[in-house]
Symmetry: C2
Subunit: 195 residues, 2 copies
């Protein structure tokens, strides 16, 4: 069992069969110890790959993404939910992402200035559920003609379709924690040795 | 001249007399080298103080805040612009922040679970202009009965009222870069030796 799994069992709260609350250490209050573990974990998995940029989406992807980018010594870029007043005349890449939690679509953008055809991009996010955010980020990378090296997820809800959708898109997906079920008010991890 | 000032002169773009674009390294694409310099700078200034928590506001405050929190080995908390689905029954602290750029008010919140009366809080943000975000964060800390140890700002536009408003609130304000003017399409820093 890794450190993040231990923290989920210790400090996480199962709200219902789909929602795990871990905002005491991952996505509202953030524990730097957890960030250092995540940073090392992603680095170990992706270190043999050439990576020129780490990409995430605001807001809760930013903390793990900057830690990972810092370890790889490459820039981190985050997709924004609103257009900045300083957007260059070169314009933006834009994609539509559906939030199942909020039941609404929103457009997320990155400035064309910061993603180029020669970039090799590692996508990082805190949660993977339906895969909407990750697929949106992959779309942005594709629009730039750049390469998606992989997708690194802190906590994957493996009982939701995100993992399958990313694998079908041909992505190298690595999740630090894979949750098989939140049924019966209990966190059950995927038994990866048994798979 | 410090590292952040050098990067502003090298890579910043003056959009008009009020807007400086530095989103190639600070608040859209983020350069980890800049983050490490910022981290050390804030640590040097605040290291003699007891700090139990770093507080910022989503989204562009998150990267510098987690780096600083990591150096102090304390949790980082970010105020959210929308209420999370996992908010506890204990509820939230809420404050209204006016955005002059977008000319609208928005409520920002933190969960009451993560800020207590015995917390000693360092507030970190990327920009200081009118001081709305920092004053909102100070209000949240006050609602919790906690103490604001100081406010650390990456880039202060000293020709706007934020600095004065924070000093009048009795805050220990430290800005890594203080910009005296963006007139004539040029960045002029405050000459702190002459003050």
């Amino acid at each position: 069992m890794n450190y993040l799994q231990e923290r989920i069992l210790k400090d996480g709260t199962v709200i219902d069969e789909k929602i795990l609350k871990i905002d005491s250490f991952l996505n509202h209050q953030i524990d730097p110890k957890v960030m250092h573990e995540i940073q090392s974990n992603f680095f170990d998995y992706f270190k043999s790959r050439e990576i020129t940029k780490v990409l995430t989406i605001e807001a809760s992807g930013i903390a793990p993404a900057i830690m990972v980018a810092s370890h790889f010594q490459v820039p981190m870029l985050f997709a924004k939910k609103s257009e900045p007043s300083t957007l260059a005349a070169t314009g933006k890449y834009s994609t539509r992402v559906h939030s199942f939690t909020k039941d609404k679509d929103s457009d997320v953008i990155i400035s064309k200035e910061y993603l180029n055809a020669d970039d090799k991009v590692l996508i990082i996010d805190d949660f993977l559920a339906n895969g909407e955010a990750s697929l949106g980020l992959i779309d942005l990378v594709n629009q730039a003609g750049a390469e998606v090296v992989g997708v690194g997820i802190c906590v994957e809800k493996s009982f939701q379709p995100g993992r399958q959708r990313l694998l079908e898109a041909g992505v190298d997906l690595y999740s630090i924690c894979r949750i098989a079920s939140l049924a019966d008010n209990k966190v059950t991890f995927v038994d990866e040795d048994a798979e």
